[in-house]
Each structure stands twice: as C-alpha cells, then as structure tokens.
Subunit: 460 residues, 2 copies
C-alpha cells in the first residue's frame, strides 16, 4: 500500500520544500526572549500542518515555549511510534559569516540553507510529511503515530522532562523515532544505537579573602589556582584514562561485533585529524579513534578561570579558582555514582585554608539500544528501501538526554534515524540540509510505518 504514499511524496515534493521554507523563515530562537512570539508561531505552524493531515493536535503551554503534541491512533492492535523532534533553533550568530540570511531559506546546489534546516525542522518535517502522505492517499497509517515536538531543545529541554513524566499514558508507545542525528557519511545512511551520557561538574576553590601579593604572602598561604590545577590535572592520565577510583568498574565493554563493524566503516583518520587541525590524535592506544569517540568514557576540562588573565604579568595569589569539567559516560555507568566519586576525589585533595564548592551542571546516563528489536529491524528495512543501501550501525559520542528520559519514563528504545550529514553546519553559519536527504528521509519514514507493523507481526 505504501506505493501510493510514495507516489504522493514524489508528486508533492516541491510543495513540501516550500512548506519547509515557510517554517524555516520563522526565527524560532528559543534562547532569545525577543523571539518568544516567533517561537510560538513556529509551534503553531507545525501544529496546523499536522492538524491539516488529520491528526488530533494539542499545544501544551509550559513555563517556557509550548510543546506540540499530535496523534493518529486508528491502527488498533498495531504498534505505536512516538516521533520526537524540536521546532526551536540555535541563534544564527555570527551573521556576517552566512552566505545567505539565516532566516531567508535559499536553495543552492541541491541544498536548502537556513538556520534549522537540518537541526531539526528539516529532519523533523520528514515524518510530518510521511504521515500526510499515508493519510492523504491510503487514508490511514499502518501503525499508530504520535508526535512530540518541543521548542526548548536548544536550551536544555527544561520543560520536556516533567511533561514526559506527567503524561506517561498519553505518550505510551513501542518506540520513539528521532531524526536529529546524521548519516555516517555521504551515501552511507546510519542508525545510531548508542549514545554517551554526561556528568558535568564545576569546582570552585576559595582561598584568601582577596587576591594577595605573591611576594609578601607566597609560601604561607595556599594558592587556590595551584590546588585546582593539582586536582583537575589528576583527572586523566597522559592517555586520557580517567583516574577517578572505580570509574571503569561498571563500563560495559564493546562487543566483538561492534569492534568489527566499526573497523569496517570508511573512517579516514587523516581527514579527521586535518579537520580538527591538530598534528596528532590522542587517547587510549588500545582503542581505535571511533571506539574512543563512541564507546569509551572520558573526562574533559571545559573551562578554567583563576587570577590574572590579561596581558603580561601580575604577581598575585588569586582569591578564587574554578574549573568546569565533564565526563562522557558509556552504557552501564551510573551518573550519580560518578558524580559522587568526583566529589570524593576533589574533597580529599583540597589543601588546608582552601574552601571548596562543587556544582552539578547536569547528569545523563548513556543509552544503548537493542539492535535486534523488531523496531530496529523495521528501521533498517525502511532505510534500505529509501536509500538503496543497508544502513550502518553506529554509536554517537554526544548525549541526547531526552533519549534516556524516554527509556526511563516510558521504558522504550529510541530509533535514531539521522538524515543529515556531518558537514551540514548545525549550530554554525550556513546550516543546510540536502534536498535529496530530505526526500529520502520522507520516503524512509513512509516505509518505516509499514515495516514497523510488519516486523511486529513477524516477532509474534
């Protein structure tokens, strides 16, 4: 039956691109209070579009920007998929580096350029249009589909987490579907089956009540900057192995098949190194670069602040020194436990005369999806149909905290089906999205609803 929906996609593609342009034209910068009404307009835009396709749509008010919820639940007995996406975008700065204005969508070389083109309006819209294609042709979907599209992803999803936890029945589903990642490379579609987690801490050390002359006082008063460096300088060894006691105890090792699959991927270390702009890559020598980025935990210092930061010399013992640092976690590591171990590690290294404060800037566990689930099988088949190629199974080094929320609150895996490319410039000037990836993404979504029903039937 999907043939009709697929034909509808091909016939309506230019209208879909026009609609996406209209959505992209709305500057829904969630972090900027001046764009508060634009953010709402962007929510209403997608809400109206989903309503026009025949879904039941609700706009949920939050303390911040609204959450769009929509559903079509007419496929009794069939699986239910929850599409998660976001309609807010990053600020467009620096404006002068854009070749065309960020909120005037422009097509060049088969790509649409605009803030939000790939992150996430363009990718999210593929599912919106796939649902329309089914409903406007077949008149129904093979599975039940719900949409949860928020407006605060770029500012930490502050109101999404409580919304999910308070609406577990409404959001009940078999899989979450998210298109907010990237393909492995051009022409190599991918499914991301694991994400690293995060523990973000800030340590503030305070010594003398004000900066002191290092000549008059040096040797008699503990220097918070020396103490801070001694503490955070011990977090990793020279190969990046994290020195927090017990840090690796719970780490789930990579399985043999994963190491083999990663090794087969066409990853060019040289090109990666050149893009980073460094003379040598670095890290645990017993793991490959992809393994280190995707499946090994880390501890990176994100910021250091102490004393005199101007030109030249100033001979002071600073009153205060602080460090922000964060661990990327891998599956099975407990963020709470890691944070406690950071607290212990820091406190036992504080020198006499120094007071310590430790802030928690966020905890998120890693997630690891079941690659053998019916949902995963369906996603692989759907992508193969739309992209004419078997997707590769990859992990991702970053964190998408909402995936852990869905796992914890709803008990379901997320299917991370990225249609974007690594060079789509998300969060950067000249953000873009290939129209061919947009088209294939819609077709993959059209196929996905069918394959999800089929795979579920096979699994029975």
């Amino acid at each position: 039956m999907s043939a009709q929906a697929e034909r509808y996609v091909e016939q309506n593609l230019s209208r879909f691109i026009q609609q996406l342009s209209d959505w992209l034209r709305i500057p829904s910068v969630s972090t900027d209070p001046d764009h508060k009404e634009d953010v709402r307009r962007a929510a209403e835009f997608v809400a109206d579009d989903l309503r026009a396709s025949g879904l039941t749509v609700e706009l949920h008010e939050t303390g911040g920007h609204p959450i769009v919820y929509a559903e079509w639940c007419g496929a009794e007995g069939a699986p239910t998929a929850l599409v998660y996406g976001h309609y807010d975008v990053q600020p467009p700065d620096p404006l002068e580096e854009w070749d065309s204005p960020p909120f005037e969508p422009t097509v060049r070389d088969g790509r649409i350029y605009a803030r939000g083109a790939t992150d996430d309006k363009g990718q999210c819209f593929t599912h919106v249009k796939a649902v329309e294609a089914w409903l406007k042709t077949v008149g129904k979907l093979p599975v039940n589909v719900k949409f949860l599209i928020e407006g605060e992803e770029e500012i930490g999803s502050v109101h999404l987490d409580p919304f999910v936890r308070e609406n577990i029945e409404k959001l009940r589903c078999d899989y979450v579907v998210i298109s907010d990642t990237a393909q492995f490379d051009k022409g190599i579609p991918a499914i991301t089956y694991a994400l690293r987690g995060l523990v973000y801490a800030e340590v503030i050390l305070r010594g003398p009540k004000s900066d002191l002359h290092s000549g008059v006082f040096g040797g008699a008063v503990a220097n918070p900057a020396n103490n801070l460096a001694a503490i955070v300088g011990d977090l990793v060894d020279s190969h990046g192995r994290v020195q927090l006691p017990g840090f690796y105890d719970d780490v789930l090792p990579l399985e043999e098949w994963e190491r083999q699959e990663f090794a087969k991927l066409p990853f060019r270390e040289d090109a990666f190194r050149a893009a980073v702009g460094t003379e040598a890559l670095w890290g645990e020598p017993e793991y490959s670069v992809l393994e280190r980025r995707w499946a090994r935990p880390t501890c990176d210092i994100n910021g250091l602040t102490a004393g005199y930061q101007g030109q030249g010399a100033k001979t002071i013992i600073p009153a205060r020194a602080s460090a922000k640092f964060s661990c990327r976690l891998v599956p099975n590591q407990d963020p709470q436990r890691v944070f406690r171990s950071i607290e212990h590690f820091v406190r036992e290294r504080v020198w006499p005369g120094i007071r310590v404060e430790i802030l928690n800037h966020g905890l998120a566990p890693a997630v690891l999806m079941d690659v053998h689930s019916p949902g995963m099988t369906a996603a692989r088949r759907a992508i193969r149909r739309a992209f004419d190629r078997e997707p590769v199974l990859i992990r991702e080094g970053g964190s998408i905290p909402v995936v852990a929320t869905f796992k914890q609150a709803l008990g379901v895996d997320s299917l991370l089906l990225g249609w974007g490319q690594n060079d789509d410039n998300l969060h950067a000037p000249n953000e873009r999205f290939s129209l061919e990836d947009f088209r294939r993404g819609i077709l993959a979504s059209v196929a996905l609803w069918e394959e999800l029903r089929q795979a579920a039937a096979e699994a029975r």
Copy 2:
C-alpha cells in the same frame, strides 16, 4: 655636628609637611598617559627642591618619564651614598573608597592621607629634607650623597636599568639607600637585608584549531586544558614544595642566627591568618610562617585561562589553555637556570597533538646583603638614634629588582630602611604615612650621613 641639623628638622617640620603635601598634590600616575605632564611636574618639583638645598641636579630624559639625578660630592675621602627613590605613584582607583580625595593630601590622626604618601614620595622625601638640614646648617654633609629618583617604578622601571648600566661612573657609590619598604610593626623599625627574586613564566597550550564538541571529539583529541592542569598542577606538592628538578640545589639555607632572630619577632600568626581571611595557613611544615614568606622559594600560579568561563555548562574541548605562574627565588638561585628548568619541565609533559609556547615575563635574582658591613652598622646606629630602639633585621618576600641591578652594575649593597607601616595601604585606597614616622625618618637620615662616615673610619 648633627645636633644643628636635627634642630633644623624639628624647627622646619611643619614646612616639610607642607612641601610634601605640595608634592603629593601632583597626580604623577606613571601608567596613565593623561598624566604625562603631571609626572614631569612631580620630577621638576623634587629637582627644584634638591637644587635649592645646594645640590647639582640633572633631569635625564628617557623614552618615558624623566629620571632625576642630583649630587653633593664635597666630602672628599668620605664614603658615598646613593639614595634611590621614585616620584611616580599607583593609579588611585577605586576612587569611591577614599575617605578624602587621593590628590588632596589631608592630615587625620597624625597621618597624611594621599596617593604616594608612603610609596614613595613621603619616604623618599625624608632623605631630601635630611640633606637640606645638613646643608642649611653645617653647610656640608659628612659623606657624599647622590640622588636617583625615577618616575617609572610603578610601571616596571623600564628605563632605569639601562640608565644605571650606562652611568656607572656617575652613580659610583659605597651604598645605595632606599626607603620604600616598611618597619616590622608599629614602634619596631627594621632593616631589610634580603629580598626574594622572581621568575615569571606563561605557558600557552594550543590543541584543535577551534573549540570542539566534547561529545563528538572527546577521547580522540588531546584537551589543552587537561594537559595544562596536569603540567602546572605538578609544579608544587600539597605542602608547596616545588617539584622542578634541581630547584633547591643552589638554595642558600637560612643561618641559625636568622632563624633565632625571626623566632624572636613579635609575629602573631593568628592575626596574620585573620587578615588573609583564610581558615588555616599553609606551606612547608619544617619552616615557620616568616621563614616561608621571607626565605623559602615558591611557585604560585597567578592566572589560569581556558575554554568556557561563563555561567553554567558548555561542553567543549577548548582550543587553547594558558597559565601564568611565578617562582619566588631565594639567595643563590639562578633565575636563568630556573627558567630553563621550567621550560624543560613543561615541554616533557606536553601531550601529542598539543603545541606549546612558553613566555618569559621577567627574571630577577634574590639579593642578600652583608649584615656586618660598615653601612649596615651605620644604618642600625642611625635608626637607633632616631627611633630610640634597635632596628630588627628582617627579610622581605617580595622582589625589588632595582636592588639586584645596583648589586650587579655597581657592585654595592642596598640599605633598605623602611619608615612605612604594613597598614599604610600602599597600592590601595586611603594610602597614608604617619607624620611621626616621617619625622623620625628624616632624623634617621640626618644621623645616617654621620654614622656612615664614622663606621667607615672604624673599619679602616
């Protein structure tokens, strides 16, 4: 013969205070280009005053502010003293914290309040007036006296060093006399016979060409902030012992008499700790607090800069991280050697993929004066006569680089005769100078010229 000069001081004291006020009223802030003419006026003020007393005076132009040189060399066969001082002052900010305007000298509770009151116009003026007292009464001085008063002390004495090295014959002397330090405490005059030196370095580490996402890249790219912390965090141990190889090899240990004298000083650790505003003092446990501040080398981090320094969290691997740090040196340590050892220490700890740059922000050796010299004997006697009390012999933890310059270029010790108090607020709002210390300082200087001649005669 000094009795006449002493009487002259007592009779003219209120005029001296008035003249000091006139000098203090000139805002000779050397660092501020807007005050360039004021700085020159302050130079001319003291030049005129010295000329009026009968000295030969020269105003030497430099690339910056002028150097005042004056001399009276009519004491053939007698020793020669070179008085060093400075007529420039620190900026007065923050203005709102001054109880009376910084350039409207005001007498309250027997103290004169103004920027430069103690540092160094007030202290320097004691010698100017002592010379006047001798010349206006006896008509000659017991020794030859030269003055070298610069206008760039607060901005690093950039033009003084070359001036001294180019004018060695002109500046030839047996002792330099400097009043730019403090008494040990109220009623406890002191002679400072040793200063610590300084090695100031900055280490800049550069990794990726721009900040990277710590999720996407963490584990595969060396983080300059982690590397920096690992390096500078190893500079000292938890008791402040410097870990640079060979750092202590050349250190001249404290002599037994010094430890005994320091132990006798009425130093109150509790009050010191409370003034610092810390819960505990810190440092090498086998040395007292005064020993640690005055006679033990240190390494203090003065500034740290890396990555994100705003509120909250940002998950980056910073492209760059830098640290400023400085060692205080004690007698016999070679600043060049210490700097080379820092370079070696840093370079051997740099991780793959990180580029390092090491800046030298200044080297100055420690100085140690001969406490048994005739000059020191004369200074002790002169102070005892003026302050009715034997001065204590102390060291100072800070550095006065010009003292090392005089030692190297002229081969002479400096007599550091501080008339100020530790709470005179130098470099801070409400800088002040006790009029009684001003009076006793002039009288000590009057006596010094006589005692220098006497001690030299005894030593023959």
